[in-house]
Assembly symmetry: C2
Homo-oligomer: 277 residues x 2
């Protein structure tokens, strides 16, 4: 399978808020890039820096090459993979690095589909927000065939992957880690938000409490960012669709394993109400 | 009011799992201690090291002196404070350092009661487990009259208070911080436990996932300890009454502020079920 060479054309599909800075980093590292995005205009800044724009997903792919996808959800990922010519274009020895947050079962099914076509599916879900992509401080969980992972690792580093954790050959654990991690991060946000509201309603200034807790016992980067949002009057849980979507993935994952997750289900209810508000 | 001198007799009431190592640290620092505990036998190891044992709470107190209490809940604290002779024994200039996790409203009422008797109530709830008390790595939130806090600060340090945060003169914020902090810590545990169960039921080894998350995005001392418990087959949420009690205090606090806390209420349900199991 060999290692990636600097002049190998790389496919990149999905220029959303996280995909765009990843593609930008890859391009800045000198890799020739062919892009595809549903809304083609989002590719313009990158095309001006030398990236090529494909007319359809399969045209972003070089036979036996590497293609990255970073999309909204399971169905948008499936749609791309099952789109005309995608798996044929990837061909024998090709590697699809899938960075979308999806169900572990979706990842397993797509991995089997790639294998049947002679290509490799590497799961590489990302923890990070766009600012962290720009700062090249992303955390990536990696699963899939060893040689394929070795081949794409330099590209993941070039993309901003500061910490890359290898979960082995079996598909599912890296993807499940992303679901579990997001659920734990989002539930911490929801608990902080309830705490913040209770303090405020009790006439207690929430700032000293949140400042102290998020620099001591609860000193995670996520909690610190979230406390900052709350203290400046924002409601980030309600602002973004991602907590709602990702908590839904975790509860579906739990359902598929016949495991009760009452806290996660309540969190999903809270996020549903926040979307309606 | 003056500062504490090394030979001033200190009262210490409550030799539970956290109280006992605190009293031990205080005694080891050379402070003369008079103890009271409902179960007197628990005082024996300390008495053998030179502490005095009082027959009733009020006898643990020196007029104008300092007394610490660390008890189970609001009602056990109220019972001690309202026990015969307690406030009279403390007298003018006395300082009661209250370390029990209670409702902010209870703290405010007790503070007013002390003030009416010429003494000071200092709220000093503790974050920490017994092992951290032994290692003198406790975090203490402090509220109350400035001179009283200055007087007792060296004693809190001698007791194992590694980080002491002053929330000002008004009673309530330090106590509320303890409730909010415990709720956030316990909800993180519950989210981790649901994640752990889903991974296991899905045939995914939870160890790499928890190891990675609790050393990166969720790297708090509590999460690390809790992951260790889960991975060695324990269920610490069900093992102790403290998460159940403290989450109940947070939901009562929220009710008193007329603030909906659906995540906390669900957590309380989970802990109720865990107690029954």
């Amino acid at each position: 399978m060999g290692t990636a060479t600097m002049n190998e054309q790389i496919g990149f599909i999905g220029l959303g808020s996280l995909g765009a800075p990843l593609a930008q980093n890859l391009l800045a590292s000198g890799r020739p890039l062919t892009l595809w995005n549903r809304t083609a205009s989002k590719a313009e800044p990158l095309v001006q820096q030398g990236a090529r724009l494909a007319r359809r997903p399969s045209e972003a792919i070089t036979g036996g090459g590497v293609v990255f996808t970073i999309l909204w959800d399971d169905s948008s990922l499936e749609e791309i993979v099952r789109s005309e010519g995608f798996l044929d274009a990837l061909g024998t020895g090709g590697v699809h690095v899938s960075m979308t947050t999806v169900m572990p079962e979706t990842a397993r099914q797509l991995a089997a589909l790639h294998q049947a076509h002679g290509s490799s599916y590497v799961e590489a879900p990302i923890f990070g927000i766009p600012q962290q992509a720009v700062a090249r401080q992303l955390m990536i969980c990696l699963g899939g065939p060893g040689p394929a992972k070795e081949r794409v690792r330099p590209l993941l580093e070039a993309m901003g992957g500061q910490r890359i954790f290898d979960f082995g050959e079996a598909i599912g654990a890296a993807t499940a880690t992303k679901l579990v991690g997001n659920f734990m991060i989002i539930s911490a946000f929801a608990a902080m938000q309830e705490s913040f509201e209770v303090l405020k309603a009790s006439g207690i200034d929430p700032k000293p409490t949140l400042d102290i807790l998020t620099t001591t016992l609860l000193a995670t980067p996520g909690n610190q960012r979230y406390a900052g949002y709350l203290l400046s009057g924002m409601n980030p849980i309600g602002m973004s669709n991602i907590p709602f979507k990702d908590t839904g993935l975790f509860t579906r994952f739990a359902d598929s394993a016949h495991t009760p997750v009452p806290l996660a289900k309540q969190l999903r209810e809270i996020l549903t109400a926040a979307k309606r508000a």
